[in-house]
């Protein structure tokens, strides 16, 4: 059904090149068991990513050059064909995926380059360097497949692929058991989400096929969605308390199922717990996978399915509220963290919350906009923190830092830029425009229950964000240095291969916002180019609002942000002893915050332990060991053996003619039975 669209054989190479590079690495490491020289590894991996970056640039230009409907398609081959159901391996390039792929490849390229410097030191010996790049390329492949996928199944393939790669890369330093543990934690938590995602996919396909038009590709689904919009499902008795019970629209159910997947992948409440632990991986990994690209897959998916969510107000509201709550929740946790990467992790969670808030209130373009800017400055922040960590010889605790601006001025500069960007100061920060757009659309989202509350939470979170980000920055770079002397002796700015990507990202972090500012702030026609570019790919109604309102909202937000910054300045530069006293005065609450509200512990007690217990006692000892092994396998074997050794062995008389005799008799019997 997608036949009549413009074909472009180029698309397939965007994901394919990284895959090829990964395959080469994999074969060399896994089969040949020899690692390439460092230079070749770099050329291969970074080259692959670079080329696919260029390709995505080219196709973007091709896309913008098209008039009318801007869609490119690349049918590679039929992946699964069964009757009316046929899933193509096809890649789709519309404004949405174009922006995403460009962002992914671009940031990915920068981080690849950065990794050359970052991964250089540790374990050249056990081929770790090449292994790292193998995984990275594999991740690029999976992520690009996810982004460019033409149908939900292929997207799910990429979805799983990125999950796998994140697992591999979190546990990259597998020698340390804790890292391996974190990897598996991330993987398992993701699985929970993926389950919901899969259910959603099947539900959607089933419903469509049931409505008589089996469609897989997004466009076909969108076209034939009308067939199931009116359909409703009856909730089971134990769910009657839910709003809108007893009858829910099927689209809502599907939307919620899919969103469960997004929650898992994008670390929203309640499945966010894996992301902070994912920081166990190398910092470039945290930057690429757990800040810039993979964790935003959920947001991307929601925007990709915007036509569905437009039909599912319940699901949208759920998304919005989940996002908002996650945002503020994670932000509060971030206040009390001392580990620099942990802070960034929680801020990532919170920013993702922002994106979901936007997507929930139907401002998908705003979500994507924030996704892009966030990718820029969060990658910058992570890489900056990575530079700091390198300088501090793998010390991540900000308690041991401080006053580093004297030692590593360049890092201090770029990190500061990132902080400003995420805090969202007007005009000098990309965060400002995107965040402001989100807040605006939340303020205007009258169709979402309690939208004012959402708006309030958003503004408040903005303030908190500014506060803790500056807190980290001050604690790291200002005050007097708390590092031990022998460490302090060697603190220096990292090599250029590390710094250059930082500069580029810093530039993007400042000016990335001008991709799509609202006309209110940049009074030129079609200022919001990104938004207008994305709009045809999304299902959202543009909102028109007086500029005065926008100024007011922006002013309010900026004011709160400034308050947060000021607070941080007071507490951590003027009076560094104050925070301790405040914490002690707050007592239990502060402890709870410091311990992330004990969420991990609660999960452990409520879910993990019972699950383990049940699996061990019932499933393993009871079913597997007893029923299957003893009764099933061994039992049948024993039965056969005893029967054979007591009865049938006497047929084995050793006389060939006896066998022949029996054979003939048997044949006669069979033929006789068949004929007479």
């Amino acid at each position: 059904m997608v036949g009549e669209l413009t074909e472009s054989q180029l698309l397939r190479w965007i994901p394919l090149l990284p895959l090829m590079a990964a395959a080469v690495h994999g074969v060399l490491l896994g089969v040949v068991r020899r690692s390439l020289p460092r230079g070749l590894v770099i050329v291969l991996s970074c080259g692959a990513v670079l080329v696919s970056f260029l390709i995505s640039f080219v196709v973007l230009i091709e896309l913008t050059a098209m008039e009318g409907e801007r869609v490119l398609i690349d049918n590679v081959y039929t992946w699964i064909g069964a009757g009316r159901f046929s899933a193509e391996v096809a890649f789709l390039l519309d404004p949405l995926s174009a922006a995403m792929s460009l962002m992914v490849t671009g940031v990915g390229l920068l981080i690849h380059i950065y990794s050359i410097g970052y991964m250089d030191e540790d374990h050249r010996e056990d081929k770790g360097f090449q292994r790292f790049f193998c995984f990275m390329n594999l991740f690029m492949f999976a992520m690009l497949t996810l982004v460019l996928a033409d149908n939900l199944l292929l997207m799910f393939l990429g979805w799983e692929g990125v999950g796998l790669c994140s697992y591999l890369l979190i546990g990259f330093w597998y020698a340390d058991r804790f890292n391996a543990y974190c990897g598996s934690k991330a993987f398992i938590v993701n699985r929970i989400g993926d389950f919901g995602f899969l259910v959603g996919i099947f539900l959607l396909f089933w419903a469509l096929a049931d409505a008589g038009q089996a469609a897989i590709a997004f466009r076909d689904v969108e076209a034939s969605l009308g067939a199931i919009v009116e359909r409703t499902v009856t909730l089971p008795a134990w769910l009657q308390f839910l709003p809108g019970a007893p009858e829910w629209r099927l689209t809502t159910v599907i939307g919620i199922c899919l969103f469960v997947g997004a929650v898992g992948k994008s670390a929203q409440i309640p499945l966010y717990v894996w992301l902070p632990d994912a920081m166990a991986g190398p910092t470039p990994v945290s930057a690429l996978i757990h800040a810039a690209t993979m964790v935003t897959a959920g947001v991307y998916m929601v925007c990709r399915m915007s036509f569905l969510y437009a039909e599912a107000p319940g699901a949208s509201a759920l998304i919005a509220w989940t996002g908002a709550i996650t945002a503020i929740f994670a932000a509060t946790i971030a206040i009390a963290q001392t580990d620099i990467k942990k802070v960034l992790a929680y801020s990532t969670v919170s920013q993702l919350g922002y994106m979901f808030l936007a997507a929930g209130v139907g401002a998908y373009s705003a979500a994507i906009f924030h996704l892009v800017t966030h990718a820029f400055f969060k990658a910058l922040l992570f890489l900056g923190s990575g530079a700091v960590i390198l300088a501090m010889h793998h010390e991540q605790n900000t308690d041991k830092m401080g006053g580093l601006r004297k030692y590593i001025p360049r890092t201090h500069l770029v990190f500061g830029i990132g902080v400003v960007a995420i805090a969202g100061l007007p005009y000098i920060a990309s965060g400002f425009f995107s965040k402001d757009e989100i807040l605006l659309s939340a303020y205007l989202a009258h169709h979402v229950p309690g939208y004012m509350a959402l708006y309030a939470i958003g503004v408040l979170t903005a303030g908190i964000t500014a506060f803790y980000m500056f807190r980290v920055h001050f604690r790291t770079f200002f005050g007097e240095c708390r590092a031990p002397d022998e460490v302090r002796a060697h603190i220096h700015d990292p090599k250029n291969v590390v710094l250059v990507p930082l500069y580029v990202l810093a530039f993007l972090a400042i000016f990335g916002g001008y991709l799509g500012p609202s006309e209110a702030f940049v009074p030129i026609p079609d200022a919001n180019s990104l938004g207008n570019f994305l709009l045809p790919a999304l299902t959202q109604e543009a909102h028109h609002v007086a500029h005065s309102t926008e100024y007011a909202l922006a002013g309010l937000a900026t004011g709160i942000i400034l308050v947060g910054i000021l607070l941080a300045y007071l507490l951590y530069v003027r009076k560094p002893e104050l925070p301790g006293r405040i914490a002690s005065s707050l007592g239990g609450f502060s402890r709870a915050v410091a311990n992330k509200y004990y969420v991990d512990e609660i999960y452990d007690a409520v879910i993990v332990r019972p699950l383990v217990a049940i699996s061990d006692v019932v499933l393993y000892r009871g079913i597997d060991a007893t029923v299957i092994d003893d009764i099933g396998a061994n039992g049948s074997a024993k039965a056969v053996r005893s029967l054979a050794s007591n009865v049938f062995k006497y047929l084995q008389s050793g006389l060939a003619q006896g066998y022949l005799f029996l054979m003939v008799v048997g044949t006669l019997a069979i033929i006789g039975y068949l004929t007479w």
């Binding site: 003619q657 005799f661 003939v664 008799v665 006669l668 033929i671 006789g672 004929t675």
Partner: protein, 165 residues
């Protein structure tokens, strides 16, 4: 005419077979009566328009296989089968019964099962046509049999060698 020949050959074949099976004293004589069967079967094939098969039947069975039997018999120079008389009657009876049953079932199976033979083209069963079929449709089977023969050769050599060196 051909019908007459057919019954003649059939009679010889059956007689030879019986002679082979019933002659318990003399293995060589048994083998020779088997030769009779083979040769007359060759005649039967020719009467059934399978000329190549007929020639090959005589060439291979009568000319090679049975000679091989004779060769082995002579090699071991068995004149009499020394039998232990017990169980002999039982087996004989059982065998006779089984044979009779097989025959009975077979005959009742084929009784009136076939109509008139189909019309055949010129040169049916000649080496040209059979060869054509053999080397086009059945070439794979043909190659497979060559492998089989190789395996049989090796096996025979290994088995019959006094000591493998």
């Amino acid at each position: 005419m051909s019908l007459l020949f057919f019954y003649l050959f059939a009679a010889i074949a059956i007689a030879g077979a019986l002679g082979m099976v019933l002659n318990t004293r003399n293995t060589v004589a048994a083998a020779l009566s088997l030769v009779l069967t083979m040769v007359s079967l060759g005649g039967v094939y020719v009467l059934l328009e399978a000329y190549l098969i007929g020639a090959l039947q005589i060439l291979i069975y009568a000319g090679a296989i049975v000679v091989l039997f004779l060769f082995v018999v002579m090699l071991m120079n068995l004149r009499q089968e020394e039998f232990s008389p017990q169980r002999q009657r039982v087996t004989k009876i059982a065998g006779a019964v089984i044979g009779f049953l097989v025959l009975l079932q077979f005959l009742q199976l084929i009784h009136g099962a076939f109509g008139e033979p189909a019309a055949i083209i010129e040169g049916f069963g000649g080496y040209r046509q059979v060869g054509a079929v053999l080397f086009t449709d059945y070439v794979l089977a043909f190659e497979a049999t060559s492998l089989l023969l190789l395996a049989a050769m090796v096996g025979a050599v290994i088995l019959a060698k006094r000591k493998i060196d």
